[in-house]
């Protein structure tokens, strides 16, 4: 981080930022990008949660795949094959530049609240490996979150190549290998003539229908596929983006589906739902699974693998949205020059460090203040609501781009784009509406209070803050370098 320029005043900031141009993006293969995309969406963490639903977990993943994953992946494949830069560029071209900023802001801002809960999970899994009693320690949790988060920032600040390698290998080591082991062992279990712990009959294909609770479960599962479009910001790193990005998206789609469905099914074959524990977390389910085969010692290894997958995913989220935020802010001057500066690797280091400062405060609150950690689940609803704004904008932008720029060269044209966009729009809107239904954790509290809390969080994080950036930006925030880059392109 020594390379960071730290100007003392605005004019100097502008001047220095003016000389900092984005170096050529390092090359990524389409396979690496597919693995990065998969790493940012899927891991085995959710498998024990969904294994409880037995055979119905297939339905709970396939229906959202049809109405949300397919539209998101195919539409972003077409958009990325025609325009570099990711969601901010698509929305800027299709709707307007301020809305492009809103889209990437929402994609970026919601991750700030996400990292503490992800890293708290990593801390508890790490405690399982070292000493389970540590999981209740605020100091331990804070230290793990800080060390891992800032190491992630440091790695991200070394450039896309470093994090691409780590996130790809993290997926292979942390998800693909243990996922394959789970599935193979599950098949061995059935092949030995054991009855599946969860019934596998046709009548169990559908989840229990109990009205609103089932609707909440099904619709909220749309969000399992959030983030499929996020790595499109790296599309210019591909040799032939128009052809390679769609290929990478198709592979990622297949991997995500396999990772979500098969390991959850395998666990449901072996571990009865009466033995899965909510409070003991995912390691309890893995322990039960491996203990059946008398290889309980595999559990700490699986824990380390799960940690590596979670960190791989975190790396992709650190690098993607912040890069998009930088690119539109540089070209339009939407953020102060300090936040537009790059380090010598061409990475948006100041955005990452500023984001890190905010994340640090939130994470310390999570670790040390029980009142914060106790209600942290609310933030996950607010942040997913904020993320849905991105999808609403993306689908509208895609339809407008097809209509207004039909001849713009695209490497891939998705068939029936408008139908897919409408399906995606409706799914996103439904998920947003369902986000206002109080979940288990809210208990018997007032629905109105819950709606006000979620609505206020959505309005503040997803609308008010980006509006304030747009409203109070100064002409001097648009740097000379960005103008030159804009003119050159």
């Amino acid at each position: 981080m020594s390379s960071m320029d730290m100007p003392a005043d605005a004019p100097r900031q502008s001047a220095r930022a003016a000389h900092a141009t984005i170096p050529d993006a390092p090359r990524l293969t389409w396979l690496t990008l597919a693995l990065m995309t998969t790493a940012s969406v899927a891991s085995l963490r959710a498998a024990p949660t969904m294994a409880v639903y037995g055979l119905a977990c297939v339905f709970l993943y396939l229906v959202p795949a049809i109405v949300f994953l397919l539209p998101t992946a195919l539409v972003s494949a077409e958009l990325a094959s025609g325009w570099n830069g990711g969601v901010y560029r698509w929305v800027s071209e299709g709707l307007s530049k301020p809305l492009g900023f809103l889209a990437v802001w929402c994609q970026f801002a919601m991750t700030i609240f996400y990292y503490p809960s992800l890293l708290a999970f990593v801390a508890s899994t790490l405690a399982y490996v070292i000493d389970p009693a540590l999981a209740s320690s605020g100091l331990y949790t804070a230290i793990v979150i800080m060390v891992l988060y800032w190491t992630g920032v440091w790695i991200s600040s070394r450039g896309t190549k470093a994090l691409a390698g780590l996130s790809s290998w993290g997926l292979v080591i942390g998800t693909l290998i243990p996922g394959t082991i789970l599935v193979v062992l599950g098949m061995v279990f059935l092949a030995q003539g054991n009855p599946s712990a969860a019934p596998m009959t046709a009548s169990h294909l559908l989840p229990e229908w109990t009205g609103l609770a089932s609707l909440v479960l099904i619709v909220n599962n749309f969000l399992s596929y959030s983030g499929m479009e996020m790595n499109a910001v790296h599309v210019s790193s591909l040799k032939n983006p128009a052809k390679e990005y769609p290929k990478s998206m198709f592979l990622a789609m297949g991997l995500v589906l396999l990772i979500f469905i098969l390991p959850a099914l395998a666990i449901s074959w072996v571990v009865p739902s009466s033995q899965t524990s909510l409070t003991a977390g995912v390691m309890q389910a893995f322990d039960a699974f491996f203990s059946y085969f008398d290889i309980g010692w595999m559990t700490p290894i699986a824990a380390v693998m799960l940690i590596s997958a979670s960190l791989a995913g975190m790396l992709t989220w650190l690098a993607g949205p912040s890069k998009g935020l930088l690119e539109i802010s540089r070209s339009e001057g939407y953020l102060p020059p300090f936040l537009q500066q790059l380090n010598r690797f061409g990475v948006q280091q100041n955005i990452l460090v500023t984001q890190g400062a905010v994340t640090t405060v939130i994470a310390l609150g999570y670790a040390f203040i029980p009142n914060v950690s106790n209600v942290y689940w609310i933030f996950s609803t607010i942040t997913t609501q904020v993320y849905l704004i991105v999808y609403l904008l993306m689908f509208v932008a895609a339809m407008r781009l097809r209509k207004n720029q039909p001849d713009h060269p695209r490497g891939y044209r998705v068939p029936a784009l408008n139908v897919l966009c409408v399906v995606g729009l409706l799914s996103s809107a439904a998920a947003m509406v369902i986000g206002f239904v109080p979940p288990s954790q809210f208990g018997g509290g007032s629905v109105l209070v819950y709606v006000v809390i979620i609505g206020s969080g959505l309005g503040l994080l997803g609308l008010l803050i980006p509006w304030a950036f747009l409203k109070f930006r100064k002409p001097s925030w648009q740097t000379e370098a960005a103008r030159e880059e804009g003119a050159a392109s």
Partner: protein, 145 residues
């Protein structure tokens, strides 16, 4: 930075990551202690299996339960009411997302009841501390039996 130094630095990042992960695996294997089963563990496992059947589940493998929960409930009874553990399990009453899409849902009541049953048998003192939190949860029967 020259491409050679660039690649060299990346190499050290990769090596560092591998060393840390391998060290964790070694620590995990050294510390891993299979729960030894005895008569008391088997007796408690039978109690839990009976309770599962009474709750409408298939009778689970009692040897597996004994190996998993031992006599003290293992991880399930390891300070479940602490602020951080409560925060984590509350976050985990969620949909099937693994990353940013994770959001809370209306959980299955029978799964939560099973949780309480395990604690009632293995660590009733811990159940007292968490019972209020479990009772506060709004649940429904979303898992088909």
């Amino acid at each position: 930075m020259s491409p050679t130094r660039f690649a060299s630095e990346h190499k050290w990042i990769y090596i560092g990551a591998i060393v840390v992960l391998l060290a964790l695996v070694v620590i995990g294997l050294v510390r891993y202690a299979a729960i030894t089963t005895n008569n008391k563990a088997t007796q408690k496992a039978n109690e839990l299996a009976d309770a599962a059947v009474a709750a409408g589940y298939r009778r689970p493998d009692t040897a597996l339960i004994a190996g998993l929960l031992g006599t003290d409930g293992g991880l399930v009874c390891d300070d479940p009411a602490s602020a951080l553990k409560s925060a984590l399990w509350k976050i985990n009453v969620s949909n099937g997302a693994a990353f940013v899409g994770q959001r809370p849902v209306i959980g299955d009541g029978r799964a939560l009841a099973a949780e309480a049953t395990i604690m009632k048998i293995y660590c009733p003192d811990k159940l007292d501390k968490i019972q209020d939190k479990l009772d506060d949860l709004k649940t429904d029967d979303t898992v088909r039996q």
